[in-house]
């Protein structure tokens, strides 16, 4: 290598040095440390905060001795399984709705995106108020509807039954749903709430839609393709990279849901919203079981990694990249 090349390489390494240091200090090192910790018992709050090697005990406890682990895993899986498809289809539907040239479309787009900038804590507090069984906007509105229909009318009961089947009961003889205060409805209410922030995936989908050349649609129309055919044969294939991206981000995001569970329900009622990360956080920072919490964190990492890989591997079957065709 010439002297110039050596100098260039040296400068290059110097410029990326902050990242190398940061990556080692805050990512690589902690990952290794967390792997080691997962085989140890460690309580930093104890006077003699000792590190004790316990082998596979943490993992054994996770799978056989901790019902809350299974509960939190199933809660998170249920949340992901319902909210990801809702987010994907809802985000796409919104994007299709907003991808048109009508006056003031920018204002509509802004309105849909606005909830995204409030952040988890503010959104949680607002919806806690909206979901309040006795004073919340939603139940007051529903009560008015039931009053209008007549409390004992068949119509009122027909409306109340599916709502209560999904979102629980406010109290034993009420027609109103209990939302986050009922064990049956808490998780579903949080899923419903997640639809309020569809704006993020909407924006991504919208950008994907606008990148599809208009000529494709015009050509298809000349060939006699109807709306439905154009949607399934042009929009969906050309949008599949965007959908793929939203799916990967949805998997990574929904498995790490935390804020709503802590602020709105504190994991309850009866652990029905005890999300996986909430359970991990509590083990680490409330019960100071750092070793066990590390094992939990690593298991989550393995789940997310394998799901992401599954999605990525499957993508060749359903994601269509235009550049590959050429």
């Amino acid at each position: 290598m010439s002297k110039k090349r050596v100098r260039e390489a040296a400068s290059g390494y110097l410029f990326i040095a902050p990242w190398v240091a940061g990556f080692t200090l805050f990512t690589l090192g902690p990952m290794a440390a967390s792997a080691i910790l997962s085989f140890c018992r460690y309580d930093p709050s104890a006077v003699h905060g000792t590190l004790e090697w316990v082998g596979l005990a943490n993992y054994a406890r996770m799978f056989t001795g901790d019902p809350l682990f299974w509960k939190s895993l199933s809660v998170t899986l249920r949340y992901s399984l319902i909210s990801i498809p809702l987010q994907l289809s809802g985000g796409l539907a919104l994007a299709l709705l907003l991808n048109r040239h009508v006056r003031g479309i920018a204002l509509y787009r802004t309105a849909f995106y606005l909830p995204m900038v409030l952040g988890g804590v503010a959104i949680s507090l607002l919806w806690l108020w909206l979901f309040s069984p006795s004073q919340g906007l939603i139940n007051i509105g529903l009560a008015k509807i039931f009053d209008f229909l007549g409390q004992d009318s068949a119509c009122a009961h027909l409306l109340a039954w599916p709502l209560q089947a999904v979102f629980g009961k406010a109290d034993a003889d009420s027609l109103l749903p209990g939302w986050i205060s009922s064990e049956r409805g808490a998780l579903n209410s949080l899923i419903l709430m997640s639809c309020w922030t569809l704006g993020g995936s909407m924006i991504v989908n919208l950008a994907g839609l606008q990148a599809i050349p208009k000529t494709y649609y015009e050509a298809a129309e000349i060939d006699g393709a109807g709306r439905w055919t154009r949607f399934w044969r042009i929009t969906i294939p050309l949008l599949s990279p965007t959908i793929f991206f939203n799916l990967v981000m949805g998997v990574i995001g929904s498995f790490q849901v935390f804020t709503q569970g802590l602020i709105m329900t504190a994991g309850g009622p009866n652990n029905s919203t005890c999300f996986y990360v909430l359970n991990t956080y509590r083990n680490a920072f409330e019960f100071f079981r750092m070793g066990y919490a590390s094992a939990l964190a690593w298991f989550l990492f393995v789940i997310i990694l394998s799901l992401t890989l599954l999605v990525v591997r499957s993508s060749s079957l359903w994601v269509f990249y235009e550049a590959q065709r050429r």
Binding site: E8, A9, A10, S11, G12, Y13, F15, I16, P18, W19, G22, F23, F26, T27, P30, M31, S34, P44, L94, L97, L98, R100, V102, Y108, T110, A111, F112, Y113, L114, P115, M116, V117, L118, G119, G120, V121, L125, L126, L128, W129, L137, I140, K144, W196, G200, V204, A207, F245, M249, I252, G253, F255, Q256, T259, I263, F285, A293, W298, L300, T308
Partner: protein, 371 residues
Amino acid sequence: MTGHVTKPGRALRRLLAPLAAHAILIAATAVMLLPLAWMVSTSLKQSGIGLSRGIEWLPWRDAWTNGKETVDVMVLGARVAPGDGGEAVEVGIKSLASRRRFTTVYVPEGAFEAEIEAWRIRPLTGEDETAEARWAPFASVRRRVAPEWGNYREALEKMRFWVCLANTLAITFLGTAGTILSCSLVAYGFARFRFPGNNVLFLVLLSSMMLPSVVTMIPVYLLFRELHWIDTLLPLFAPAWFSVNAFAVFLFRQYYMTLPFDLDDAAQIDGCSALGTYWRVLLPLSRPVMATVGIFCFTHYWLDFMGPLIYLNTSEKFTLALGLYTFKGAYTTQWHYLMAATLAVSLPCIVLFFAGQRFFVRGVVMSGLKA
């Protein structure tokens, strides 16, 4: 859609289609914005009574007057009672200021039912009468819109807003500045220099974007504990100076790749060092990326909750998000305060969003990472 309009049906469709689109869009927008409107409405209401009166979008307030003095009251309900000269409509009222008693005056007047309907108050029967509640003629109670601006003052004071704001500003500013500086510098290294391992390291950097933060959370916490940084703001912004935001590095690198090498050569002929080229030529040119990354980081640090929750213990160090959370713990049912505080905390992000919407949208589109 530029075909000749020949059939009347088609003309009608062209007229109606935008109308239908607007109808759907307005309905959907209303559903999205209703919660926000309710938040604003709640934040301006009177405590207790204002919150329990059902769906009222404006902060109504009732006052009873006997001609000489005016007292804030709560209207419990209404009834039609026989008076001296016929039937009188009365409302059951309760003083809000003190436990003072009201004398009941019957004023004969007839057609108040419609007005009572407009007030949306339930009919009261004698059974509802309590020690504090008194009957008063409907005409002696006046209703007016009176926003409780004081809610904001009190809520901000109670949650120690200004202390939290100062901390949040410090973290947001230092975190954003650190991210922009360190990430653009590292991106410059990746984009402009050939060295063994350039591509592999960049791939490693990209894949670190996918890593869930939970995995590194505990050891990083222990690291900061060793440094005695717990309950300081340092753990919240210091990592930003080590270019931990892989997405920002990616954006800067992609942008530098589009800039011609001639720029670097010209700068070097003019006597710029490699660092000088970055500082004087490439960084100033990358303003659009700086804006995108800047706005992205601003919202990230402003809204971050888990970080402050883990690292901060004393309320002097709290950020706005954490302050809001602890405020909720202390004032669980005081929704007028809670909504006022929530709105105050969110307002800077909302303003920034409207000011820099272009960059916001670009950031989201490029990352899909949701704030």
